[in-house]
Symmetry: C2
Subunit: 242 residues, 2 copies
């Protein structure tokens, strides 16, 4: 038995991972049966592609890489796993015949918690409450991430469009001057690799901020300085639309 305080700290760390986010202390105690603490010095392999996937892992400190090696020996990193994240849990849920689809190696000195697949799945089979809690936490996290991707995509699209518009504007343009560009929207969206739906949302946001006007194939730049501020980032905050 470990002293209570250590458990408490481990529980706090585990709740950073979406898998454990909703579990209370009693549920975590059950999920941690058979859990082992591992120290993985930098450069050490944890598992290899094709080995039986009988454990999954939580990173307490340090980081590991998941990678494949091509036939010609070239290494392709699939994912970097950092403190607070779990890995190989998707494989674990795929059953007892599952094998690790990648290699894993510590890229720093890394401290891990290792969970035994069989024991972990047994606990889930015995408790719908724990399983549903996990599904709830994962659903919430998924929606959050999709939202975040949406907003990052819009940010990237903003940079590309605004950079393009500023490049098209003559250098000697007076501050405050209106500039009319004849740029069919559909051609512009395609050239800048922005999805039509994202492009429409972006134009609407820039218009709502008083930065541009759109009339058919004409885009009028109403506020060059405002557009420049969107991409030049003089402040300590990343630029965000709306």
């Amino acid at each position: 038995m470990r002293p209570f305080q250590v458990e408490n700290q481990v529980f706090g760390e585990l709740r950073q991972a979406y898998l454990f986010a909703d579990a209370d202390d009693e549920q975590l105690t059950r999920l941690c049966v058979g859990m082992q603490i591992l120290e993985l010095p930098q450069g050490t392999a944890l598992f290899h592609h094709g080995q039986p996937a009988n454990r999954f892992f939580f990173v307490r400190a340090g980081q590991v890489k998941l990678f494949r090696v091509s036939p010609d020996g070239h290494e392709k990193i699939i994912e970097i796993i950092r403190a607070g994240q779990t890995f190989a849990e998707a494989v674990m849920f795929m059953g007892e015949q599952a094998r690790y689809p990648v290699n894993c190696e510590a890229i720093e000195d890394t401290r891990l918690l290792a969970f035994d697949q069989k024991k972990f799945l047994q606990v889930l089979e015995q408790s719908h409450e724990i399983s549903f809690g996990m599904l709830a936490a994962m659903s919430r996290r998924l929606h959050m991430l999709v939202n975040q991707i949406d907003s990052l995509t819009l940010q990237n699209a903003t940079y590309r469009l605004v950079m393009y518009l500023l490049e098209e504007a003559p250098r000697e343009a007076r501050p405050g001057a209106d500039l009319e560009l004849t740029t069919p929207k559909s051609a512009l969206a395609s050239r800048l690799a922005i999805q039509p739906e994202t492009f429409s949302r972006l134009l609407a946001k820039l218009r709502d901020q008083g930065l541009i006007e759109v009339h058919g194939p004409h885009i009028i730049l109403r506020n060059l300085q405002g557009l420049r501020e969107l991409v030049y980032v003089p402040a300590a905050e990343p630029p965000r639309l709306g």
Copy 2:
């Protein structure tokens, strides 16, 4: 009974959603017991904040908004749900006392599938295979989204850093000229709102591409044209590092 072909098409659509991605036809047949087809004309409310969350939904076509209304009547959109996505499933997993935390309204003519909470959870309680399949699919999707956010964050950080470096470079700089900027890295990262870890990865990538060199507080711009190409996006592809 609906004809088999319709079922088949619905199954194909459902597998776009992470919740159903791993389910085979037999499992989907069980999960769809009690499922209803809804048509929601644009502007129609589907549920209100505080109502019992006894159903969750899959969007077949159109889109809905999830939103809250502040005490002063201002509407705040939490999420837009598009075709191929589920919503309110996180609430459903939270049990029978759960209530919708948001309002939902169709922002286009929308076709939905509605799943009954009780019947759906009963199927999961009866089949660990289905539950674990869902957990596996959700884990995989979560890792994929985290990767995607990582790469989008790096893209955004690239824009901000490269824009800054180009702004600092004198306009009359010759193509091919080296330019040395005295810019402490830590100050720069903080000013551009880039996490130290992301900043290091970014500098390493730009260095590996032969675009910059970094010597202590000095950043040398080795390839101005290459840096410009990273942010000006003349091609049809979005700029990507590495």
